[in-house]
Each structure stands twice: as structure tokens, then as C-alpha cells.
């Protein structure tokens, strides 16, 4: 996945740079891009460290369990395997809450530790399990209540009413998220049926 995406983008960029006569810009971009990855990691490191620590405290104190119980019916539908075994379900609950609250930086570490635990119940480690796909798809079109970065960006660009986008964003992100989750659940079920028929 990562290799293919990189390969395609790299080759397309090279060809496009040739056409547009921007080869020297392309070569400069390689250096800045790689450096930006390190900058990003360093800037994320503090928050990752703090959040994972805080989450562990909340988990050991039993607070996450209580919060997860509140949205438990939803979790049961979204992640049936993780719900049954308990592996990664707390992290999924935390990931969903972080996305709703618009703290995207906090959502990523939760998702990754959820995936690591889901991998324990995955009979085919090289093939994504149903729950993993649901989690990934949910994060790629999350419901956002408060897109702060975007509003700040609009404000800086001199918008007269920067937060007028909120209601349309709620509508679009809600239906987008619901659609992606329903689709991935439906495909999971039909996939299982097809496999059963084969054996």
C-alpha cells in the first residue's frame, strides 16, 4: 500500500516536472519533504507521549471502561470481533471520541494501538480484518463537530463569517461517515458469506 502509493506519486511527479520544466524544484522538494517528516514526528512526539500516558492512567483507573460502556451498542455494531474479545475496543472508543472532539492528533495513536491489539485476533496477519477496515475507513471520513484548523485558516484569509461552514460540514461529514461505515460492514458480511460458500 505504502510502496505503491509512493511509487505512483514519485513517477507521476517526475514526469510532470519534466513537462512543466520544474525539475530543479522537484529535487529541492525531495529534501524539504523528507525533512518535514522528521519535523512532524518531533512535533507529534510530545503530544503522543502525553496522550498515551494520560490514556494509560485513565485506563488503569477504569475511566475508559465507563466511557466505552456508554457507546457500547454502537461499538458492538462497528467492531464485532474486537467487542467480543475485548482486544482494542477501549482504544476504538477513545479514537471515536477524539475524532468527534476534533483532536485529530490524539486520534491517531489510539487507532494505531487499537490496530495492534486487533492484530492479535486476526487469523491472517497480512490481510486486514473487518474491524481494522471499519476503523481505517471511519478515520478517513470522520464526523467532525469542530474543524478548528479550517476555521482558523478561513479567518486568516479574511472571511467575513469563517464559521458559517459548520452546519454544512456537520451534514456532509455525518452522511459521509455513516455511508462509509455501512458500506464496509455490508462488504464484510457479504465477504464472509462468499467465503463460507467456497468451503
Amino acid at each position: 500500500m505504502l510502496g505503491k502509493t509512493f511509487g505512483v506519486m514519485c513517477i507521476v511527479s517526475f514526469i510532470a516536472a519534466g513537462i512543466n520544466g520544474r525539475v530543479s524544484e522537484l529535487s529541492a522538494a525531495v529534501f524539504t519533504g523528507a525533512a518535514r517528516a522528521v519535523e512532524l514526528t518531533v512535533s507529534l512526539l510530545g503530544m503522543m507521549c502525553l496522550w498515551c500516558g494520560v490514556m494509560n492512567v485513565l485506563k488503569d483507573a477504569g475511566a475508559i471502561e465507563k466511557a466505552a460502556r456508554l457507546i457500547s451498542p454502537v461499538l458492538k455494531f462497528l467492531f464485532p470481533t474486537a467487542y467480543k474479545t475485548g482486544n482494542g475496543i477501549d482504544e476504538c472508543a477513545a479514537n471515536i471520541s477524539a475524532n468527534l472532539l476534533g483532536i485529530g492528533n490524539a486520534a491517531t495513536p489510539f487507532a494505531i494501538s487499537a490496530l495492534k491489539k486487533m492484530q492479535l485476533d486476526n487469523p491472517t496477519p497480512e490481510r486486514a480484518s473487518d474491524d481494522m477496515i471499519t476503523l481505517a475507513v471511519m478515520n478517513s471520513s470522520p464526523i467532525s463537530l469542530m474543524p478548528m484548523t479550517l476555521i482558523t485558516l478561513r479567518n486568516a484569509a479574511g472571511s467575513t463569517d469563517a464559521s458559517r461552514i459548520l452546519v454544512p460540514v456537520w451534514i456532509c461529514s455525518f452522511f459521509g461517515s455513516v455511508l462509509s461505515v455501512l458500506l464496509s460492514r455490508a462488504l464484510a458480511v457479504s465477504d464472509r458469506k462468499r467465503r463460507k460458500k467456497k468451503t
Binding site: G33, T41, L44, C49, I103, A111, L115, P125, E126, V169
Partner: protein
């Protein structure tokens, strides 16, 4: 609303602080353990991040985004997407920082309150960097076969774009 969303992080930290003060079980050890795993996770993400950031930076610098938008223009005109938001749509699923900078350019050239600027804002708020997220998530656990994840993600993204174009016309 703004106050609520900006007080969430401090509130969670305060709850944690109270727990740390009250507990007799030495919860600070739990903090250390979690924080250490946080460092390990973020460092293990670096190789993938380097690849994606380099690719995204090359993609924007080479003008490939604009080129792709030019090729797609007839299709998007047909389904009623404003053509000036195309460069933004191309980079949106790939890189957060790249799409923010393209969005900023768009605001500068045609204004954040124009129909295109408004539509692009709604799409930015309702979607995320799909390819980047899939790459980071699945490579972190060594999954190679992502099955139906990409088709579902792309379909949902297309749906959000079309819906955003329609909804923006109503709300602007």
C-alpha cells in the same frame, strides 16, 4: 461552542490530575508506561512518514496536481464540481499540509467566501487524508492486503464531494 471545544483537552488533563492525586496505586507508573509506548509508536511511524511527505512534496512541487486537475476538468464539469477547486481535491486525500497550503492559495486567489472557496472549505472539513491514513494505519501492523478499504474510502470521498457541492449552494 468554541469555548467547549477548546476546553476539552484541559478538562481531560484535569481529570487525570485528580486521579493521580487521589490514587494510592501509584498511577504515575501507568503514565510512564503509556508515555514510553507513545514514543515507541511515533518513532516507528517515521519511515512511512518520510516516504509520504517526500512524495507529497514532490507531487505539489512538480505541478502534477494541477496537471491531473486539467485532465479531470471535463469529467468534473459534467458532474457540476467547480473546476477551480480541482487542485485541492487532488491533494486532499494525500497530504494534510499540502491540502492546507493549496486551500490557502485558493482563498487568496478567489476568496474564502466565494462559492468555490466555500465548497472547498466544506470538503476540507468533511474529509480526511485517506491515502495517508491508510498507509500509516495498515503499515503499522504489517497488513499488505487491505481488501475493500480503498474502494469504500474513495466512494465515500466522492459522495462527500458531491454532497458538499450541493449543500454549499444552499448554505452560502
Amino acid at each position: 461552542m468554541k469555548l467547549i471545544s477548546s476546553s476539552i483537552v484541559p478538562v481531560i488533563l484535569c481529570i487525570t490530575a485528580v486521579l493521580l492525586l487521589l490514587s494510592k496505586k501509584g498511577l504515575i507508573e501507568s503514565f510512564n508506561k503509556g508515555a514510553r509506548s507513545g514514543i515507541k509508536t511515533s518513532v516507528s511511524l517515521l519511515p512511512g512518514l518520510v516516504l509520504m511527505c517526500t512524495a507529497a512534496s514532490m507531487f505539489t512541487a512538480s505541478g502534477a496536481g494541477e496537471l491531473l486537475a486539467d485532465i479531470l476538468a471535463p469529467v468534473t464539469e459534467f458532474i457540476n464540481i467547480p473546476s477551480d477547486i480541482l487542485p485541492f481535491l487532488v491533494v486532499r486525500p494525500i497530504s494534510g499540509s499540502a491540502s492546507n497550503s493549496v486551500l490557502n492559495e485558493l482563498f487568496d486567489s478567489i476568496g474564502s467566501d466565494s462559492l468555490s472557496g466555500f465548497t472547498a472549505s466544506v470538503i476540507a472539513g468533511s474529509s480526511d487524508t485517506m491515502f495517508y491514513i491508510f498507509a500509516v494505519y495498515f503499515s503499522s501492523v504489517g497488513v499488505k492486503n487491505t481488501r475493500y478499504a480503498v474502494p469504500v474510502g474513495l466512494f465515500a470521498m466522492l459522495f462527500v464531494i458531491l454532497l458538499a457541492c450541493a449543500v454549499s449552494r444552499i448554505f452560502i
